[in-house]
């Protein structure tokens, strides 16, 4: 059996009286790309925020075989790196500063930083051209690249991506997903949540369908892509 990076059992999150996640169980193995797809309001973002300790939750989460650290900072330091919804770059800082901040996790190994920066620039040549500009001046697609690049700078053991396609034109969406595939091929384990089921399922090794706080289906990306019930679910005429 392959090495388990993330093991989530019965994860529950509620905001006041609203139960947003109602006992979610899933896992991610080393080297995989796993997608969680579902409509708006299903709880996808909440799921990732819970894993990063940005929301309080109950249940059990093991990361790299150990219980998930208690504080958001320690989670990052343990190697679970989160590219949040809507990118959340530091708009007033230069692109280079944004990327360098991403390398904070590795602060004890300064030598790797230049190497990682080169790697990010190779993946996203646009970022190199504009390294000195402030991140706020980037277009939506470039911002997404910068956000992913920032996370890669931390050499994540598991990369969480929250809706990388949001607000992007179709062409850019395809581009971002092919880059996600490439990142995965280079050895990064990826957990992806997406509303864009089509694209997410086509890059994912395995996927889970999340609806109103529960996982209703799971399978390989290909299986789910071919499942007629999925499309129906998305149009809500089930």
């Amino acid at each position: 059996m392959s090495e388990r990076v993330l093991d989530v059992q019965d994860l529950k999150v509620s905001f006041g009286k609203a139960q947003v996640l109602d006992g979610v169980t899933f896992h991610v193995d080393k080297g995989e790309t796993v997608a969680v797809v579902g409509p708006n309001g299903a709880g996808k973002t909440t799921l990732l925020r819970a894993l990063s300790r940005l929301n309080a939750w109950s249940g059990s989460v093991e990361f790299d075989g150990r219980p998930l650290p208690k504080k958001a900072y320690d989670v990052v330091m343990a190697g679970l790196v989160h590219t949040p919804e809507r990118r959340r770059l530091f708009p007033g800082l230069s692109i280079r500063d944004n990327l360098e901040l991403g390398a904070r996790r590795l602060r004890k190994e300064p030598n790797t930083r230049a190497e990682d920066l080169e790697r990010v620039y190779t993946l996203f040549p646009k970022l190199k051209e504009r390294a000195g500009q402030t991140a706020g001046t980037l277009s939506g697609g470039e911002q997404q690249q910068c956000a992913i690049g920032r996370s890669l700078m931390g050499r994540p053991r598991l990369l969480l991506l929250d809706e990388p396609s949001m607000g992007l034109a179709p062409k850019l969406i395809q581009q971002i997903f092919s880059i996600i595939r490439e990142i995965n091929t280079q050895g990064t384990t990826v957990l992806l949540v997406e509303q864009n089921a089509q694209q997410a399922l086509s890059v994912a090794d395995r996927a889970y369908i999340l609806e109103t706080g529960s996982i209703v289906k799971e399978g390989t990306g290909r299986e789910l892509l071919g499942d007629p019930a999925i499309k129906e679910a998305y149009l809500g005429v089930a």
């Binding site: 009286k17 309001g41 694209q199 005429v237």
Partner: protein, 247 residues
């Protein structure tokens, strides 16, 4: 005949981002219209522009032919447009009844304000909680309280912002009944909602938005079959879907 609500080329920009782009539509008296679209499609911004909580960069919003844009928010409410919030905003330290009394008081309702408020609570099925502090209500009851408070402003047009968000299937059923009752009472409704299945059971027309524009408008069945809507909801363009399908 003039429509109750007219949106004419409503556009709202934030810096470089055009959140709502030349949106036009009308809502007839007594209609129930659903407004759908993915996150970031511009629904909430449009919603805010319609209810006076935001001003469009250009375009016009009219109620019975009278522009609402120059009015301060409370006058928009006073002229007959009421709204609820996606994230409920009760007056948490006030009892349920007092929540509903506030709009009645500022409307200078004659007679017994409390009795009037109780009547409104009965309409949404919340009268039994009248004395509870609103901070003790369940999510479903809070949504109904939102609706009651909006109704107490005496609206001709009621705009509901994601009434079903955060509710259980059960609660959605109960709330749907309440909304249907309002419809039967002749309240004109515009409903923004992600839970499309539940929405379709309530409305007789759907407007779909994507990237700030209206991409479809008409009978619910037809709109849901519209290729542009299918694409916006499933993501990617049809060609890409084809490719992925053949892989």
């Amino acid at each position: 005949m003039t429509a109750l609500l007219e949106a004419e080329a409503v556009t709202r920009r934030f810096g470089g981002l055009t959140a709502v782009n030349e949106v036009s539509f009308t809502v007839e008296q007594g209609a129930a219209v659903g407004l759908i679209g993915a996150n970031g499609a511009g629904k909430t911004t449009l919603f805010n522009c319609l209810t006076g909580f935001d001003k469009p960069t250009s375009g016009d919003v009219r109620l019975r032919g009278k522009s609402l844009l120059k009015l301060p928010r409370h006058k928009v409410v006073g002229s007959g447009v009421a709204r609820t919030f996606q994230i409920v905003k009760p007056f948490p330290d006030l009892p349920v009844l007092a929540n509903v009394m506030v709009p009645l008081i500022v409307r200078r309702t004659k007679g017994d304000v409390k009795a009037e408020a109780l009547k409104v609570l009965q309409r949404v099925g919340l009268a039994h909680r009248a004395a509870s502090p609103s901070s003790q209500l369940s999510e479903g009851d809070l949504k109904r309280l939102e609706m009651a408070r909006a109704l107490a402003t005496g609206p001709e047009l009621l705009l509901l912002d994601e009434p079903f968000a955060g509710l259980s299937t059960n609660e959605i059923g109960v709330l749907s009944e309440t909304i249907n009752q309002l419809k039967a009472d002749g309240v004109t409704l515009v409903i923004v909602e992600h839970k499309i299945g539940s929405l379709l059971a309530l409305v007789d027309r759907v407007i779909a938005m994507d990237q700030g524009r209206v991409i479809a408008d008409g009978e619910p069945e037809a709109v849901m079959r519209d290729p542009a809507v299918v694409r916006a909801y499933l993501g990617g363009d049809p060609e890409a879907q084809e490719e992925a399908g053949h892989e």
